[in-house]
């Protein structure tokens, strides 16, 4: 298992497309929208900081879900079938995928925070930086589970479109692209139904209150458990069949 994990870690930078895309898209969005709203105030918080945190969450979400997509690709080329002919337990394969997914959540966060701090002059206390990062990172967990679901449902041909569609919808309706605060009431009600909204809340809460949002954490935990359960079922179904 250790060798497999190390091998997966070595492979991470080889899939440059997902990695670059998950960093590039939020970086560009941040430069445009963070730049446009520089110096603005949003309920007492620097709008650039607000946008930075939201887009960081968006980047880590795309990165984590893209990672799950690699399961679909590997299923497509018969790698999972090959692995079933080895003593490696299939559950370990999934555990390794989730663990490396969570690692992949970090680079987009770092890039976005660097752009925020150096390019847009976002000033946060060390404690706030840490909490914002922690909230964004913990919040990636349900998306890692969602990635596994996609990995076991999608085909190699469809996986990119499916995950792209999903994270765009999640980002748009979950308030990662447009602040919840400026959305109409109905849109805000819809937003609360998405896990993306709750990650946003969790990650941005330190900007407003200097702490993580306990309710957001609980809701996300529920999402992670729920999606984890679906992932487990899909995984079992896939392992049981030929």
């Amino acid at each position: 298992m250790k060798t497999y994990l190390i091998m997966e870690l070595k492979r991470l930078p080889r899939n440059k497309r997902v990695l670059i895309f998950s960093m590039l898209m939020p970086a560009v969005l941040l430069l445009v929208f963070g730049g446009l709203n520089k110096g603005q105030d949003l309920n007492g918080v620097d709008a650039s900081a607000y946008i930075m945190v939201s887009l960081g969450v968006f980047g880590s979400m795309t990165s984590v879900m893209g990672r799950g997509g690699s399961i679909a690709v590997e299923r497509g080329i018969g790698w999972n079938r090959q692995l079933r002919l080895t003593p490696l337990r299939p559950s370990r394969y999934v555990v390794i995928k989730v663990a490396t997914s969570l690692l992949m959540a970090i680079p987009p966060l770092v890039v976005v925070y660097l752009i925020g701090a150096l390019g847009l002059g976002v000033h946060l206390s060390a404690a706030t930086w840490l909490l914002v990062f922690l909230g964004s990172w913990l919040g990636a967990l349900p998306f890692a589970a969602l990635g596994v679901v996609i990995g076991y449902v999608a085909t190699p041909d469809s996986v990119q479109q499916i995950s792209a569609l999903l994270y765009m919808l999640l980002a748009a309706f979950g308030g990662l692209w447009v602040p919840i605060e400026v959305m109409p009431r109905l849109m805000r009600d819809i937003a609360e139904l998405t896990p993306a909204y709750w990650v946003g809340q969790l990650a941005r809460n330190p900007l407003f209150h200097g702490s993580l949002d306990a309710r957001g954490l609980l809701v996300l935990l529920a999402w992670a458990v729920g999606l984890g359960f679906v992932a487990l079922r899909r995984f079992r179904a896939d392992t049981a069949k030929a």
Binding site: T3, R14, I77, G78, R84, T86, P87, L88, A240, A242
Partner: protein, 295 residues
């Protein structure tokens, strides 16, 4: 002694197509067995069930007396699938090292790379290899596990003659160490040249099982060829031991179930000369066994 492979009454249907239809097969330790049959005979489905990749509709598959998954978890089985199963972004060395790491009692990676003839390309990405080289990688992955049973599903499909030859040369060397080997193929020469025992499968059943010589004998028959101008074909067909008669110009071709009786009668009753008696080859047996089902 527990057989290495024990398949009992295996049946598997996909929709209305019965791929495997009551197949029995027992393989003892150290045997090298070819599962031979035309395309669509049910070889791959049989192998999938044997490895636990497909669940039989009825019947059981046991490896070393255990369910396949247990034997695999115990590291007793190395398998080489027909296609796929390689991560293209890994290097040859990485993928073989990875396979090695999954087995407790594995062999040394450099040694296996040498045996599989992959040392020169060890640092290359799998995606950049030729079909033959990729097949060697699969072979190395199966070998590095140091398994008691190696299962190969059509290992040389799509390889050119040279690649096939060197694949089997490497394989032959390995099987010398008392390993049990089961391979599926539709190449007759491979079964003949490499296996101790040929299991001929058609329409999901075993229709012949034995050494190449036994299979030839089962289809039996020899052919007598003789020069006999103006031969009376009906009279020849009536000779004892003769099944069929054909004329080829001045020559006649007698397909015989008992060539000895036919030959005695032919010599005694006709002026035939230049007589040759040939046994049917494995190829004729293969064709005969394949056609039998089509009738």
């Amino acid at each position: 002694m527990t057989p290495t492979v024990a398949l009992r009454g295996l049946t598997k249907a996909y929709g209305r197509v019965t791929a495997v239809d009551g197949l029995d097969l027992t393989i003892q330790p150290g045997e090298v067995v070819a599962l031979l049959g035309p395309n669509g005979a049910g070889k791959s489905t049989t192998i999938d069930m044997l490895l636990g990749l497909a669940r039989p509709d009825t019947g059981t598959a046991r490896l070393f007396g255990m369910p396949p998954a247990e034997a695999i978890a115990a590291g007793k089985v190395g398998a080489l699938l027909q296609s796929g199963g390689l991560l293209p972004d890994l290097t040859v060395r990485e993928i073989v090292e990875l396979s090695a790491a999954l087995y407790a009692g594995h062999r040394s990676v450099p040694d296996v790379l040498t045996r599989a003839g992959l040392t020169d390309v060890a640092g290359r990405r799998v995606a950049k290899l030729s079909g033959g080289q990729q097949q060697r990688v699969r072979f190395a992955m199966a070998l590095v596990a140091d398994p008691d049973l190696i299962v190969l599903d059509e290992p040389t499909t799509g390889l050119d003659v040279e690649a096939r030859r060197s694949f089997w040369a490497a394989m032959r060397e390995e099987s010398g160490h008392g390993r049990t080997v089961l391979f599926a193929t539709h190449y007759l020469e491979e079964a003949d040249a490499f296996a101790d025992r040929i299991v001929f499968v058609r329409a999901g059943r075993v229709v012949a099982d034995g050494t190449a010589a036994q299979i030839k004998a089962q289809v039996s028959g020899r052919t007598i060829r003789a020069t006999l101008p103006g031969a009376d074909l009906n009279a020849l067909a009536a000779l004892p031991g003769v099944d069929e008669v054909e004329s080829r110009g001045d020559a006649v071709l007698l397909t015989c179930r008992d060539s000895d009786a036919a030959l005695r009668a032919l010599v005694n009753s006709t002026p035939a000369y230049d007589i040759e008696v040939t046994a049917q080859g494995l190829e004729e047996a293969f064709v005969a066994l394949t056609l039998e089902g089509a009738k």
